[in-house]
């Protein structure tokens, strides 16, 4: 029990340090950004026609003249009290916006995460089993092709094929244009989420499949598999009983590590499909100098990624008997 408590305290401390670091770097980068918040958001012409008083008011609103250290400390003390501040662009609490956007994104991200994980595992195992033969060569060819394709380009291609040429799916946004919120059906939302999710899945598969393939080859070359063969176990039983069992541990790590890639990829994919998710909000906040919103999004996504890795750590303990039983004994 004490062991477990220490484990969680240590993880918590690590997460706090990580989030501090991430927010500090984000803040520093925003300060170094050449974008002038007033010119970007108000415009040169509008600024020129304003009185000095009005400009000063705006400068105060965007925090132009406040020293960076003071702004950061102000943001930090707010966060410590659970207040992530107000978004400067949307004029709403940051947490409200993140909540809305995450609600939109969570389906896209979740689908892409599960689909790429499952398909990647399947392809990786197949490639490993058929190493050097035709299925392996096809899978590797596909993975290398996808890995060297930029995600946004793939998104454009899908958009072109499925929305423009075939007309099967909507071109963008998360709901049909000009429809009341109450009239939007679940199916409408799914139809809008398909393409961004597909983009993220297709790109996510390559990484997982290639890593799984390597692990599967390692497993199949192990002494344990040789002995299983020597004992007359059939090929299919060896793959199902020994191969999958031993590939499960690295697969868990890969699956949870891919959360960060999926979230990273969503920034581009959502931009292409004008999908109002978290990724798109991050781009808007970054380009519009909306410091509180950007910091909020960065910190929350970093926390999600951290939680994913933590979950992998914990699952390892459940799946791997060497950890599970070793812990029970100590």
């Amino acid at each position: 029990m004490r062991h477990r408590l220490r484990f969680f305290l240590r993880k918590l401390l690590r997460m706090i340090l990580l989030l501090l670091g991430v927010s500090a770097i984000t803040f520093a980068l925003m300060c170094a950004s050449p974008l002038d918040p007033l010119q970007t958001n108000v415009g040169q012409v509008a600024l020129g026609s304003m009185s000095q008083e009005q400009v000063e008011k705006l400068e105060a609103y965007w925090g132009v003249n406040t020293p960076p250290a003071e702004r950061y400390m102000g943001w930090l003390s707010g966060v410590a009290r659970g207040d992530f501040g107000m978004s400067l662009l949307y004029r709403q609490p940051v947490l409200t916006i993140i909540g809305q956007r995450l609600g939109n994104s969570v389906w896209v991200l979740g689908f892409a995460w599960l689909f790429s994980g499952a398909l990647g595992l399947l392809l990786g195992v197949l490639a490993g089993v058929y190493r050097g033969r035709l299925p392996d060569r096809c899978i590797r060819w596909y993975c290398l092709l996808i890995s060297s394709t930029p995600a946004f380009w793939l998104a454009l291609l899908l958009l072109l094929v499925f929305s423009v040429w075939l007309g099967w799916l909507p071109i963008g946004l998360s709901v049909p244009v000009g429809m009341e919120t109450s009239a939007v059906s679940f199916l409408d939302r799914v139809r809008h989420a398909v393409l961004p999710a597909l983009t993220l899945s297709i790109t996510g598969v390559a990484n997982i499949a290639m890593h799984t393939r390597e692990k599967m080859i390692d497993v199949l070359e192990s002494d344990a598999i040789l002995f299983a063969k020597a004992r007359g176990e059939s090929g299919i039983s060896i793959i199902l009983r020994h191969g999958l069992r031993n590939v499960a541990l690295p697969a868990i790590t890969l699956q949870f590590a891919s959360i960060s890639e999926i979230i990273g990829g969503s920034v581009l994919a959502e931009q292409v499909f004008s999908y109002p998710g978290l990724g798109q909000a991050a781009v808007t906040a970054g380009l519009g100098s909306d410091l509180p919103l950007l910091l909020g999004i960065t910190v929350i996504t970093a926390a999600i990624v951290f939680m994913g890795n933590l979950a992998a750590d914990l699952l390892y303990g459940v799946v791997d008997p060497r950890i599970r039983r070793g812990r029970a004994k100590s």
Partner: protein, 329 residues
């Protein structure tokens, strides 16, 4: 008596990609022209240094060699060719392997499930408990994972796993390294029991002293070749041995002076021609270096590949083959 296993002129080679670009392929011969005959109830020890290709012999017999290797020659089991299909059918049942150590068990699966190969019926459970019991392991062992076994326990589990189905031919590949003398002695005693129960046992080891404790015959492996095939009793006196390397090996044993052998064993497949032992031999002449091939000679009830030993004229009928024939005493 009908031999259970006859290995006739078996060679195993590996295809390797040399040069950094991986463009030029070369064949590396690891086992060269090996012939052995094993009878039921007999323990034959194959003794050779680490890296001399002994384990590959075991994998070759079972047809589980890595994909980049190739085996030539003939293996007869019970008088019939042991083809890939036949080996597939027999391995794990009649022909079993006792591997080197705990790494040959699936680290994530309980011992019991591995011994039973996934079967869950009552008969299989009883058989696995019996097998464990034969080697002094309690039924609780079934619920342990490989990492929870001690070195000695792991070897006994491996023997139990191999002998669940009462095999007729057992290949034990280095079953004792890393064990203390008492545990190693126990493992060897178990192998002797298996042979005494009527199975043929091929004991692959680098430890001549241990092998002599239970073996009936000893085949000495040097740089991928069997340079001598002798009765275990010949090792009582070095003058009964035939090959200079076997004699040197005898003198290198702790009880016999502990004298080291000068020079290093060439890697298998590196010797183009002549006797592989030539650089360390005290007795070699020019023709030992130049001979294209040194055929085995039948000498005093054993076989030797050495030009300096006179072949017995009486029983030299079988030209260049059937090594180990005529060893029935």
């Amino acid at each position: 008596m009908e031999p259970i296993l006859q290995i006739q002129h078996v060679s195993i080679d590996f295809t390797q990609y040399e040069s950094r670009k991986g463009t030029s392929r070369r064949c590396l011969q690891v086992i060269r022209d090996l012939s052995l005959t094993l009878y039921p109830g007999q323990v034959m020890a194959v003794v050779g240094a680490s890296g001399s290709g002994k384990s590959l012999l075991a994998h070759g017999i079972l047809h589980i060699l890595p994909y980049n290797s190739h085996m030539r020659g003939e293996i007869l089991y019970n008088g019939e060719p042991l083809t890939k299909e036949r080996a597939k059918r027999l391995r794990g049942r009649e022909i079993v392997l006792i591997p080197q150590g705990v790494t040959y068990l699936d680290p994530l699966m309980k011992v019991g499930a591995q011994i039973r190969k996934g079967r869950r019926d009552e008969a299989s459970r009883r058989m696995s408990r019996e097998a464990l019991g034969r080697y002094g392991l309690s039924p609780d062992t079934e619920d342990l994972y490989p990492f929870e076994l001690s070195g000695g326990m792991a070897r006994r589990v491996l023997i139990a796993a191999a002998t669940v189905e009462k095999p007729r031919f057992v290949i034990a590949d280095e079953p004792t390294p890393g064990l203390d003398t008492v545990s190693a002695g126990r493992i060897l005693a178990h192998l002797r029991e298996i042979a005494d129960a009527g199975a043929g046992v091929l004991l692959i080891t680098h430890d001549l002293e241990l092998a002599l404790r239970i073996a009936d015959r000893v085949a000495v492996f040097y740089a991928g070749e069997t340079i001598e095939d002798a009765a275990a009793s010949d090792f009582a006196d070095p003058s009964l041995l035939r090959h200079p390397f076997t004699k040197a090996l005898w003198h290198a044993m702790p009880g016999h002076g502990f004298r080291t052998i000068a020079g290093a064993q060439p890697y298998p497949g590196t010797a183009e021609r002549g006797c592989p032992f030539v650089s360390s031999c005290v007795d070699c002449v020019d023709k030992c270096r130049e001979a294209e091939e040194i055929a085995p000679r039948y000498v005093r009830g054993g076989w030797v590949r050495c030009l300096r030993v006179q072949q017995d004229t009486t029983e030299a009928g079988t030209e260049n083959g059937d090594l180990g024939e005529g060893m029935e005493e």
